[in-house]
Every structure is written in C-alpha cells, then in structure tokens.
Homo-oligomer: 449 residues x 2
C-alpha cells in the first residue's frame, strides 16, 4: 500500500501549534486518515486539530469518527460550528450518528439544523433498524423525462456538489414515481440532443424502504451495482443506498454470523470498544443453555455407570469421540450456513445436501475409524473388541454428526429461525448425546458389559 502517513510528524505540528502547516497537510489527506489521526490524539488536542480543518472537509472527517469522538467534539464546539457540520453531513451519516448519541446531544444537534434538514433527519430516524430505509441517503440526482442529455449533464454540473453519488441518476415523474435509471456513462456516451426517455433503463433494480438491509447488500454483490434506489410503498423515490454502505453491511452481517455461530449475542461495537459487562452478558446466555444441555448429556452417560465402572478404559475415549463428532458436525453446518448466507444453498436443496453429507461422511468416517482401529489395536493388544467398539462408534458418530450438521441449518431456515444458531456449539451438544448412547450401546453388546 502506498502513501503511508506519518502520524508522529503530524502530532509534532499539533504540539508545536504549527497550525498553518498542519492545515495544509491535512487538506491534502484523505478524510478517513484525518479522522484516524485526530482520534489518535489526546482529547484536548483533538478538538483544536479538528477546528483547523477547512469547512468543506470538516463534515467528511466528522462522519468518519467513532460515536464517542463525535460526542466529545459536539460537546466542545459552538452551536454555530455544529450547525455548519450538520448541514454538510450526508443525511445517512447524520442519522447513523444520532442513533448512537445520548438524547441530550441529539436534541442539541437537531436544534442547530435547519428546519428542512431536521424534518429529513426525523423522517430517516423513523425507519426500522436493519431496513433499507435506515441505511439510505437522500442525496441523489434526479432527472425528469423531458430533459435531453445536454440538460441532464448541465443539471448534474449544477447540483452535483451535494450528491453522495452522481454516477447513477434517477428519472422520476411529477409525483416522484421512479420510472427509469440513467448512468453518467450512458449520458457521456450519448449525443447531447438525445432525450433521457430514450436512453433510460426501465428495468430497474430497486428496493422498498422496509426491505432487510442484508438483502439489499446481496443485490449489490449479485448485480455489481454502485447504488440502488429505495422507493416507498407507492413506488415514489425516497433515497438511495450506495455501494460503500452495502460493503459495510456485508462486513457487519458476516461478523454477526461469526458471533452467532460461536454462540454469542452479536455486539453493536468493535471488540476493543465493548465493555467487559456487555461482553460477558453477550456470552453468558448461550453458555448457560449449552451447559444445561451438557448436563442432559451427562445424565444420559449416568445410565451407563455400570459399564464404565466395569471397564474404566472406555472413559478415556470419550473426549476423542465427542470432539470428533462435534468437529465433523460443525464442518458440515458451517458450510451449509455460509452457503445459505451467500445464497448458494436454498431450502429446496435439503435433500441434495443430505445425500451429499451422507456420502462425504461415509468416506470420512471410514478413514477415521480405520486409523483409530489400527492405533488402538497396536496400543492395547488383546483388546481388539474395544478397538472395534471405538471404531464403530466413531463411524456412526461422524455419519450422524455430518448429516445432522448439514440439514439442521436448512430446517431452521424452513421454520423461519436463524440458521446461524445451528452452528458448532449446538450441533456439538446434540451430537455428544447421540454418540455416547451409540458408544455404550455398542460396548454393552460387543464387550458383554
């Protein structure tokens, strides 16, 4: 990666109050890097540095701050400075910010916005969490049917400054119903006198305000889009979602799946910024549920006390059997859960997945059992029946674990539950119980316990 930024040198300029040079360097930097730099400073210097930023840049940098920094900065600037920033923010960034701030700060921000901005922000704050409405922005370029290409280009040149993206323009009628889409590429490659009606694409990929943001992000991945228009239930254009926000959603949704699949309640903030109590709370619930299931497994095991009292050696294979069962099951469930998350597997594939998992698990089970049998036969000569018991159990456990692991996530989806909870921890607990029953049932027969 090129152009590494020397934060130390910049901090030196802050410390020596060389604000003019600092301002010149910051003005040439990317807003993401400026935000990172300001957040790396001690708080009292952060505000001073933020204030040196040229007007146009301040809001862009502000949008890239964490909510803690935003709150701090808001608290240390004047109402007038705040008003400028609020007007310059894109509405989606303003809404993201307000959703995280305490009520008193939100009040002060809204008080300093113009009535139009305030009305728009309030409208956007109404959309449900995780909906398309909650991630869209109102800064898009709209065109009218009767424009020519030349008119459209002039319109963009006149209004483009405030627009989050100018590259896809939306053609609306007088009631704001979305009728077509024109890209700037289409405009540039058409002759000036051509009419917008002629070149617009009427096969529009759009979403409604209440659509799940995860589905919106999937549209971007599927169709390689730069932005998607958002319409209300009457087909009126109310906003757009841009690809950078879709990228953030994809990243967040993947993180949530990782968390759910490791038996946690997804957290709102990055790990290092989440408090100890919140982290503990997010983890305890599932650990308790799984611990109680583990106790059930334990009581199943209790039914075979006579067996392992008679032959304690059997106990030493329990960790290997249950771990392998858990691992085998979680391999299958992970592939299927992820396959559904990226739309490669759907509920209609239930039987195909099951049949595939049965075949794979037979192959895997045969290899693992054979290795195990040989190892035990060598380690415990004369105990071939024990070796056979363990090998048979291992085979049955692997087949069962993989089949259950493959189909449970699909069944979860069928009953409208979240497939991600059918991941390693739950599968492991389910498979543990089964594999112990199989183990001791086989042991009782083969070893006459």
């Amino acid at each position: 990666m090129e152009n590494y930024i020397d934060f130390d040198k910049l901090e030196e300029l802050v410390n020596t109050r060389n604000y003019r040079e600092l301002r010149d360097i910051l003005a040439g930097m990317n807003e993401v890097d400026i935000a990172l730099f300001i957040e790396s400073l001690p708080v009292e210097k952060a505000t001073v540095t933020f204030r040196t930023l040229p007007k146009g840049l301040a809001a862009d940098v502000f949008a890239n701050f964490s909510s803690d920094t935003q709150e701090y900065i808001i608290g240390s600037i004047t109402d007038q400075e705040l008003a400028v920033i609020v007007e310059d923010l894109f509405v989606d960034d303003a809404v993201d910010m307000l959703e995280e701030l305490p009520a008193s700060v939100v009040k002060r921000v809204l008080k300093n916005a113009t009535p139009d901005t305030r009305a728009l922000i309030n409208q956007f704050l109404q959309y449900p969490e995780n909906s398309a409405g909650s991630i869209m922005t109102a800064e898009f370029t709209d065109l009218r049917h009767n424009m020519t290409v030349e008119d459209a280009i002039k319109h963009i040149r006149r209004t483009g400054e405030d627009r989050e993206t100018v590259y896809t323009c939306y053609v609306i009628d007088e009631r704001r119903i979305l009728d077509g889409v024109v890209t700037v590429k289409d405009l540039l490659l058409s002759s000036d006198e051509n009419s917008i009606d002629n070149i617009m694409d009427t096969e529009i990929i759009s979403v409604t305000t209440l659509e799940d943001r995860e589905d919106v992000a999937k549209l971007f991945a599927k169709y390689d889009l730069l932005s998607v228009p958002v319409v209300d239930h009457e087909g009126r254009l109310v906003g757009i979602v841009t690809v950078d926000d879709a990228v953030d959603v994809m990243e967040q949704e993947a993180t949530e799946d990782f968390e759910k699949m490791a038996a946690m309640i997804p957290s709102e903030k990055p790990y290092l910024k989440t408090g100890v109590f919140t982290l503990a709370k997010n983890r305890i619930m599932w650990l308790l549920v799984l611990m109680i299931s583990g106790m059930i497994t334990g009581s199943i095991l209790g039914r075979y006390e006579a067996a392992f009292a008679a032959m304690p050696l059997l106990v030493t294979f329990i960790p290997m059997l249950t771990d392998t069962g858990g691992n085998a099951g979680s391999q299958s469930s992970t592939l299927v859960i992820r396959g559904m998350a990226v739309s490669e597997i759907s509920t209609k594939d239930l039987l195909a997945v099951m049949w595939k998992e049965i075949r794979v698990s037979v192959l895997v089970g045969v290899v693992l059992s054979a290795v195990n049998f040989v190892r035990l036969a060598v380690t415990y000569p004369g105990n071939e029946m024990v070796a056979l018991t363990v090998a048979l159990t291992l085979f049955a456990t692997v087949v069962l674990a993989k089949t259950i692991g493959g189909i449970l996530p699909i069944i979860a989806k069928l009953v409208k539950a979240d497939p991600a909870i059918m991941a390693a921890p739950l599968i492991t607990t389910v498979v543990d119980a089964f594999s112990l029953v199989i183990y001791f049932s086989i042991a009782e027969r083969l070893l006459h316990l």
Copy 2:
C-alpha cells in the same frame, strides 16, 4: 426486491422456439439474470438460447456463467463466435475463466483471440493467485497532463465504451507513471477550460501488482472507493481493481475464514458444485489431527482411572465441562480472529485483549459455576463436595479457555501463522486436556480419591 423474473414463461418461449420474442425480452434483462436463466435450462437448450443474444450482451452474460457452463458453451459454438466473445470480455473476466478451464479449451480460446488480447491475457495469467494483479482489469480510462477538462470529457465520450469503469480516470505521463486521479464528478463540477493538472488529486491510494487481494479489498472498505489503481514496481499504471471485484473478494475471504475456523481446507467452488471426494479430502486432514490430539487428552484421562473407578459419578460431568470450556474458548477466539480480519484488533493489542478476557471470563465463570453448584447441590443432596469440585473446575476452565482463546490467535499472527486456525476446534482440544487435569486434581484433593 422488485421486478421478479418469470423463468417459466421464458422457458416456454425457448420450448416453442419463439426466438424473436425471447430475444426481445432477454435484451431488456440484466446480464446476471440472463445467465441464471440460461444455466437453469437443459444443456442443449442453453446453447440455442445463448446464441439468440445480441452481440454486445453475449460477452456480458458469458462472464456471469459458472466455469462448467462456460466450458460447455465454448465447446458448442464456432471459432468465429468464440473470437467475438473473447474480444468483448473484460480481461479480468477472461483471465478468471481461463484459470478454471482445462488446458485444451484454454488453447482454443487463446488461438481465437487477437494477438494483442492474447498478449494481455498471457501477461495477466502470470500474476500470482490472490494478488492484486490477479483480480485487476486493463480496461481503465487514462488521461494526460496537458488535457483540459473539455478534452478529458471528449476523450471519455470517445473511448468509454470498452472501459469497465469510467468514473475514476488516471493521469499518467509518457512513461505511464501514475501521477494523479480525477473522478468524473471532479470533471463535471469543473469548468471546461480548467486543466487536468489543476484538478487532479495527487494523494493517490494505489496498490502494487503483488499486493494481497485481501488487503486490496480492505482498502475499499476503509476508504469507500469505487476503484483502485494497480502499479508495477516502477510506479507504472498496469490496471485497476473495481469495487465489484473487491466485494467478491471480501465475500470469498469471509467464506474461507468460516471454513478454516470450522477446521476445513477452504474449497475453491460453492458447496453444491464441489464433488464428494473433494469435500471429504478438505475435511479429513484436520479431523485426523484433532482426533489424535483427542487421543492425547484421553491418555491424560487414563491417568485418573482410579479416581473415576472409585466414583463413576464424576464421569457424567465430563461432557458438560469440556463442552462449556470449548464453547467459552471459541467465543473469545472467534471475536479476536474476526476482529483481526476486519483490522479492528492488531498484534499490539495482545495485552489489552488478555486483560479484557480475564475480566470477562471471571464474570462468566462466576455465574456459570454458581448455577452449576446450586443445581448439583439440589440434585445430589449430601454430595456438596462433588458439586464444589465441578463448580471450581468449571470456573477455572472458563477463565483458562477464554484467556487462551483470546491470545492464541494473536500469537499465531505474531509468528506469521493464520489466526483462523486457532478457532473452536483447536482451542476445544487444547482446553479439554487442561480442564480434565484440573478436574481430577481438584477431585483428588477435595474428595480424597
């Protein structure tokens, strides 16, 4: 999502050979949907339908086929038809395709390309797998220093047709050294007579051809980019990576992490298209490694045979203890691995993570142990010392599992190993051994076994 496509109606048109109407409908559809539709047809009808596509659209649809379909279609069209498609494909799509096809088919494709295209494709095929070079495309818009805004817009209007994206233009000198970046938005918002030199941004975010594609994708997420220029070691512009390809990389890298974290070798293809033998092969290696570690745990357990022969009740708590330890550890390792994947946690946070995990695990451990103690004291009255043994072990296991789970992925990164392999399965196996040793050591003391 709007405009759902009626595949049945389209297939009816194929079956009744109503190719004219079919062609008209397809011409208005998105290339992704057309590709999905053609792939849903029986193979012999797929080629016929593909041939009805208008010339400009055929290559776009072709780029969206799976490699199996591409191979089939190549095998059933003429050399002349193939030549047209190869020339129309963007070079990154052509390279993606050739990397998947058998050598004989690659040969036929290259034979039908023009010498220029062939040379470009051959050059691109040289870049290492997973490098920026392997995902870049050569179709970008380059501008020269001495152009005015008006010249630049004219240049784009003349050459834009073949360009994968026209929205970011790259300013190069006569040796093709990259000197600046101009967006179409910059051009549109400047006056015609302004010079490119004046408005170009010289703080360029660029990558080199050998840079890891995952790092390239992270740049897009960090800076909200639409494209990134790729330069060789002398700073000459050789290609660009576009955001749609970065989105694909992010999705693939997340999938690989899911697979590695569930103890699998990542697969190249989607689950449903991967053969049974490949799936089995990807899973067996790690299961074998973990099974052998499980045996080691088993032999540790063997040292305490006397203890559980004397008190078989102790055995029934083993699944609960090891499962809870595994789950507690995988919660921590998952958060840290994912945190590092999205650059929220770095190796310098080792001590911060450790300290956080210790505090979280003490909280979690106290709650779980207390619940457990109460439950056991109620279920097994008179056996309070057993309840205490289990509760103390559970507490120690949770603290140990979370601390190990939190720091092992960071240590892996420090020694340049892949943090994702330090996920649930390995942590579980490590923690199992420790927790059993703790369990029986406490049991021997408290219960005088």
